[in-house]
């Protein structure tokens, strides 16, 4: 519409539109007064649009309204007459060739006058009716040519009355009387392979008039433009409504993703805090280590401390199962995080698969059913860095001078592991004999940390470590969720677009 509005004096564009085999090409030949478009018995006859125009007009159109159409789909036939009117014979709207229909629809958007050609057997077909509805929405002036009407008078009356009724029901013509030209069966000009000129005389006259007077052209162009603008307002509102609905749908889809990932993330956090996460086999090794005299001397006082000092002097400090505990923590956290992220993805994919709007997207990317391939490496790297950050915290002694020396004596890694363990194994809420090992290990571990850092600094250290772990997992889960969210448009964008559209057509009249 833009180019048309910019230049009301550009040549008017008459489009011949209709179902396959209705006789569009024959009509074209009648208009040209010569055989310019191939008529034939094979369907569809016209594969490309035939553009009947003077060279200058054809050039103007190609640079303007028709520039969106691939050049090879437009077949130019040079009109000898004076310019001003361009007639385009569109390819069939209902043939098996899909691009034909698409091309016809693009041409429909560009034309100033639409001549819809149908036949006595075709007028009740479904597909052309859908196209006619588009013509009405587009608000373009319309002439209907009803071809091959039986000569028998009674039959003819029945057909014409019935066709008029059906066309009117499709909304064609609106309040204005239907511009209907009836062509009888056999009214053909075999020489030019065209409909007999006399039968479509009103149309030919109209085209001739357009060609001769610029004022008439301008009037038609304005009428087409006005129709387009009139059609635009409800169309814009309809599109805006669609956008709003789409925004609601997009929000619903996002909510599914958000709630699934949130639920799984909080379940994961709960499991990580349950206190009975790590294998007691590994915990008991840590317990054994912390329980040796050499270590308990940090915790105990008096005789125990003395015994520890002597033991250390005699036997040295035993090696701590640092690697085993670290590996156990990494494997367990990894397994749990993978499980929950994967389950969240599965839940979202499963629910989305039930929704027509996104089911094809899920089908196209089956990796959405599970956690992404990047998750596990990112998690491993994140855990490595998390452990590193705890070691750094411990090295500075949690801000306590006295602690620095003790940490150094025990080994930074050992104390670091003790802090990490305190994140997962703790005594809160543990009861019953079977939690003995976990609770016992947590207890001595906590005692050790308390002895080194003091109660407050220890709590801070552990809390900080836990927060960092939560942050790490949250960001990884968010990245997983983003895979789904990338598939639906942002609802705020859609709403803004809808609002813009409504604003743009407010008060738009010609």
């Amino acid at each position: 519409m833009g180019p048309r509005a910019a230049d009301v004096d550009a040549p008017v564009l008459v489009l011949l539109l209709g179902p396959t085999g209705a006789g569009k090409s024959s009509l074209m030949n009648a208009i040209a007064g010569d055989e310019v478009s191939a008529t034939g018995v094979l369907r569809p006859t016209t594969h490309n649009a035939i553009v009947y125009a003077t060279e200058a007009d054809a050039g103007t159109l190609r640079g303007g309204r028709l520039r969106r159409i691939a050049a090879d789909r437009l077949q130019a036939v040079v009109a000898p007459r004076s310019g001003g009117v361009v007639v385009i014979d569109a390819p069939d709207v209902d043939s098996v060739e899909r691009d034909n229909r698409e091309l016809a629809e693009v041409l429909l958007e560009a034309c100033d006058l639409c001549v819809f050609v149908t036949t006595a057997t075709r007028y009740a077909d479904l597909v052309p009716h859908d196209i006619l509805r588009r013509v009405r929405e587009r608000g373009v002036p319309l002439v209907v040519v009803l071809n091959r009407v039986p000569r028998d008078e009674r039959d003819r009356d029945i057909v014409v009355a019935d066709a008029t009724r059906l066309l009117a029901r499709a909304g064609v013509g609106g309040t204005a009387p239907l511009d209907l030209i009836v062509v009888h069966e056999g009214e053909v000009d075999p020489q030019r392979r065209s409909i007999a000129a006399a039968s479509v005389e009103p149309l030919l006259r109209r085209i001739a008039l357009l060609s001769e007077t610029a004022e008439e052209r301008r009037r038609l162009a304005r009428e087409a433009l006005a129709g387009a603008v009139r059609g635009l307002v409800p169309l814009a509102h309809a599109v805006a409504d669609d956008l709003d609905h789409e925004a609601i749908d997009a929000e619903a889809l996002r909510r599914i993703a958000v709630s699934a990932f949130d639920a799984e993330a909080s379940e994961l956090r709960g499991e990580l805090r349950s206190g009975v996460l790590l294998h007691t086999e590994v915990l008991s090794r840590w317990h054994d280590y912390v329980g040796t005299d050499q270590i308990t001397r940090y915790i105990s006082s008096g005789l125990g401390k003395l015994r520890g000092l002597i033991a250390t002097a005699v036997r040295g400090t035993p090696p701590a199962p640092v690697a085993a505990v670290e590996a156990e923590m990494t494997t367990t956290v990894e397994a749990l995080a993978l499980r929950h992220a994967s389950e969240a993805a599965r839940r979202v994919a499963s629910e989305w698969s039930e929704r027509d709007a996104v089911a094809p997207l899920v089908e196209r990317d089956p990796t959405l059913w599970s956690v992404s391939a990047a998750f596990a490496p990112a998690l491993r790297e994140g855990l490595r860095r998390w452990m590193g950050s705890i070691i750094d915290d411990v090295r500075t002694g949690g801000g306590r001078k006295r602690a620095v020396a003790q940490v150094a004596a025990l080994g930074v890694n050992v104390v670091g592991v003790a802090v990490m363990l305190a994140v997962f194994a703790h005594t809160a809420g543990l009861t019953g004999t079977e939690f003995g090992v976990a609770a016992g290990t947590a207890f001595v571990n906590q005692k050790l940390l308390e002895a080194i850092f003091g109660e407050r600094a220890m709590a801070e250290l552990v809390t900080r470590a836990r927060t960092r772990l939560d942050e790490l997992l949250s960001s990884l889960f968010a990245a997983e969720r983003a895979r789904f969210e990338a598939l639906v448009p942002a609802s705020t964008d859609l709403r803004a677009l809808a609002a813009d559209l409504r604003d743009a057509v407010t008060g738009l009249t010609l």
Partner: protein, 531 residues
């Protein structure tokens, strides 16, 4: 061809499809329609004339009949409900079918020309009126044969080819395409149009559907040919059965295709090696949780505890009673209890992870329709519950039958301990006697000396040493036996865990594979019994 077998295969395919969570609605409809149709006693088949508006279906029917049967008029669309044209002699036996087809407008003819076929003039397939198209869609699955009627204007309409021919032709057996209204064309053009139509049918993937050219309105050229086709090879029962077979074949093929059956084969969802590895890893994970190290310690302690009453002499009873009463035995010498409480020793997640990964890896390669049910297998609750069950079965069976070993050696050591105790007792009496009779005036008691040391002292020291050594010996022997026993338990638990993990864990995955295989078998069976 055996249509019963064929429908049985369809039943199998539907059962398999239902088990896999596929949409079996269409297949079920096909089966029910086929069963209903086959149940009607008749030796006439039903042929439908299907086509767009104005192609001349009614005119064609009138031309076939040689009289006005169906109202043909210039007004479009004409036939609204469907008109049946049947031989009068078959009225009785056809009445049930006509009722089933919901055809009320029934015209009869003498039956001279076409005695074995009921012809139904369908409403237009491309009508603007929805109820017409719905009527066509309702009738097409139930008719036995179709004549697709086209004309020179409409023979290439996308609606006819896309919505009807490509959809329905594979589900039909007896069908023909009639290019009607050929009188609109010059004879040479009619041939060209027919060839173009054939080429389009070929592009639709529909080879072998005959095409004939008629002009029903002008003189009825080609109508005789159509009449001949209608009357040729008419064994109504076979036509009906073949139609049911074609629909069945197509329904099963659609189901099989949706689970990824290609040319009668399915690729396994999970690679065999990968699956073995995952099971092995899961087994390792579980054994880490069962804690074999502690199991061994407990088994040894339990054996020693069992050895004590028999091999530790009179004091052994006392110490083992104390051991039991204080509850220490329950904590550290109870391998059965240790096994039974395996679930409380940490998270199962690391053990489940390889299995989750295995199932998740199968999802992308699975056909889209199977993905949801396949992915559901990897839900943590499902997998973990299954794994826990498997391990429970393995461990509980093992724990029930856990009796510490015993040995006659212990009794021998025990007897020796008793002897040592007796010697100790004797020595004690000896010392007591020496103490008591020390100042008796009957004369001095001579205390025998062994070298420089008095004999009672030597005997006392010897008995204590012997007792200690015997206790050590018992400990070593029981420890050794316990160790062997622990190894046996360990091996058995390991084997049982592996076995149960293997047997129980991937059952749903296997059942999906098996159900797919069932569908493949049904599809192959169809290929044989529905030809």
């Amino acid at each position: 061809m055996n249509i019963r077998d064929c429908l049985d295969r369809l039943d199998e395919a539907i059962a398999a499809g239902t088990a896999l969570g596929l949409d079996v609605g269409e297949a079920t409809r096909v089966r029910d329609t086929a069963r209903s149709r086959l149940a009607f006693p008749s030796d006439a088949y039903v042929l439908a004339l299907a086509g767009g508006t104005g192609v001349g279906k009614s005119t064609l029917l009138n031309a076939l009949a040689g009289e006005e049967v169906s109202a043909s008029s210039a007004r479009r669309p004409t036939t609204a409900d469907g008109v049946a044209w049947i031989p009068a002699a078959k009225r009785g036996e056809l009445s049930e079918i006509l009722g089933w087809l919901d055809l009320r407008d029934v015209r009869e003819h003498a039956g001279g020309v076409l005695p074995d076929v009921a012809i139904v003039d369908l409403p237009d397939v491309d009508s603007v009126r929805r109820e017409h198209r719905e009527r066509v869609d309702a009738l097409l699955p139930r008719v036995d044969a179709v004549a697709w009627v086209v004309d020179p204007e409409k023979y290439k309409d996308e609606l006819l080819h896309g919505t009807y021919l490509r959809e329905w032709a594979p589900r039909l057996r007896r069908q023909i395409v009639v290019l009607n209204r050929a009188d609109l064309l010059a004879p040479a053009d009619a041939v060209r149009v027919r060839d173009d139509l054939r080429a389009q049918l070929k592009r639709d993937g529909l080879n072998g559907i005959p095409v004939i050219v008629t002009s029903a309105r002008a003189g009825g050229e080609g109508v005789a040919q159509l009449r001949a086709w209608l009357a040729a090879n008419v064994d109504a029962k076979r036509v009906v059965a073949e139609r049911a077979a074609a629909a069945t074949r197509e329904a099963v093929a659609t189901l099989a295709e949706s689970v990824g059956v290609e040319r009668g084969e399915t690729a396994p969802l999970v690679d065999r090696d990968r699956r073995e590895r995952a099971l092995e890893d899961a087994g390792h994970g579980v054994l880490a949780l069962v804690d074999m190290r502690t199991l061994r310690r407990q088994a040894v302690a339990a054996t020693r505890l069992a050895a004590r009453p028999r091999g530790a002499g009179p004091f052994g009873h006392l110490t083992s009673a104390i051991y039991r009463l204080t509850g220490r035995a329950r904590v550290s010498a109870d391998p059965a209890g240790h096994l039974g409480r395996w679930r409380l020793r940490g998270s199962l997640a690391p053990a489940v992870e390889p299995l989750r990964e295995l199932v998740a890896s199968a999802v992308p390669v699975a056909p889209p329709r199977l993905r949801a049910s396949l992915a559901a297998l990897s839900a943590p609750g499902a997998l973990e519950g299954r794994l826990a069950d498997a391990v429970d079965r393995a461990v509980v069976a093992e724990a029930e039958d856990l009796h510490p070993p015993t040995s006659v050696v212990w009794s021998l050591i025990g007897a020796a301990q008793y002897a040592v105790t007796a010697v100790l007792l004797f020595t004690a009496l000896w010392f007591a006697a020496l103490f008591v009779v020390h100042d008796v005036p009957t004369g001095a008691i001579v205390v025998p000396y062994l070298g420089p040391i008095p004999t009672p002292v030597v005997v006392l020291a010897g008995a204590l040493l012997a007792g200690y050594l015997l206790a050590i010996l018992l400990r070593i022997h029981a420890g050794w036996l316990g160790g062997r026993w622990a190894s046996r338990i360990g091996d058995r638990v390991r084997a049982a865990v592996r076995q149960h993990v293997r047997d129980g864990l991937l059952v749903p995955l296997e059942s999906i594979e098996a159900t797919r295989a069932q569908l493949v078998r049904a599809a192959r069976g169809i290929a044989e019994s529905c030809r």
